[in-house]
Amino acid sequence: MSSASNHTWNRFTLAQRLARFTVFLGFAVALSASLRTVEVIPEFLYDAPTQVIDLLGRMWPLDLSYYPGGIHDAMVETLHIATLGTLLAIVLAVPVGIMGANNIVRLPLLNWLAKLILVSSRSVNSLVWALLFVAIFGPGPLAGTVCIGFRSVGFVGKLFAEALEEVNPGPVEALTAAGAPWPSVFLKGYWPQVVPAFWAIFLFRWDINVRESAVIGLVGAGGVGMVLDTALNLFYWDRVSVILLSIFTVVVLAELLVTKIRKHII
């Protein structure tokens, strides 16, 4: 490439460096423009530490006696919403994932449609999905479960489609050459190859959904979030802190459980 007389070594080509520079410059311009126009009142920021200390003062001491009567059932409901919602997501995501895998369905239009469904599911935040389903099904865990399901389809479906696209094509070719009908090729050629990924995706998403289902109650979709909402509206800060502590505990336990099962399976 370079002649013997030219010993300057550059890690990147000029075009690459220019592209990188453009990205950094673009971000710097966007940042300074944002900082100048965003409506932030600095006094509020200076006041923040006082407010936070005041808030912490109201949260302490924790009203632990509130847990058995007020929080426990809602927490169990939250876990049910997370689990059932994840199962619903899988039921919905498998067909969409298959439709999105371009090595299985070779119609670009369908691939594109699947991508649109998956992106829409992921772009709309879980709280927004919760609002939608509360409007449809009324407040309560049904709206929450469907919300978690629809919100997770994008994530589960995307990863499932990627796992399908990465399978070794050899066995699939062999089964096709043996004259197997399409469903059999899928069951015996693709499915065994993606099973480990499938369970990993399920666990991963369940972990995330425990976090999400703890807050969708803020807009009425069931679970511990509804208890939190009540406590916030009534300024029972000592209860708020107990609720937050119990969410934290459950989330950490869920993560530990998932890590343990993953090690066991994979």
């Binding site: 509020f44 407010q51 772009s123």
Partner: protein, 263 residues
Amino acid sequence: MSAAVSQKYGPPFKTNWWVRAGWTLAFLYALYAANYLDVSWVRFIQGLGNGGQFLSEMVPIDFSRWKLLVENLIETIEIAIIASAFGVFFSLPIGLLAARNLMPSWVTWVFRTFIALCRSFHPVIFAILFVKAVGFGPLAGILTLIFASIGFIGKLFAEAIEEISLKPIEALRASGAPFISVILYGVLPQVLNRFIGFSSYQFDANLRNSTMVGIVGAGGIGGTLFAAFQRFDYDFLATILISIIALVMVSEFISVQIKKVFQ
């Protein structure tokens, strides 16, 4: 004679009782949980009726208030940009201080706990607390997403540092380089590319979340969305949802392009 062969070797397949039990349990659980949550077919069908009506009220979508929409979208983007910049900026030192191969254990313990705290709570909980602390408006949203970013990038960054090769660091230490130089020349070059990857991913995540924090009053398009909901203003709601999806798709496209530049 043929059947004798099969009898000699027993059943052709080993039944995987674990898998069977797993599927049966999952099925039974789904029934139990549905019952517990009072999720019934009747309610579902009723809901579908409501849903149909809901969708029909969404069309035709209402673009008459586009000015408000654009202002809100811009504020949403601004929140995401500022929060990403500060979040990334703070994640660098926090990630370094949480890396177990570089720091003494009492330091990493403190920072790992901090990161775990940031990660364990959904951003909306932070948003509520910050709205109480600094009042309604985008500042609360920015602070929320800074903490969310630290939780995500800080963790991944610390893990990336824990995976680096220690040989260059040994060499630098042996040559008597001060600690800062070891970090600058031994550690950062090995993880910078991954760090940029995490950052662009987090920007996407921040953009999505900044469309939501407004629901609890922390600025951005979420506030308008929530208001449209409460006023049953479903045609405007549809407009907002479509523009959020479009915004996220555009940002995903841009981040794919940026990743190409840095590969």
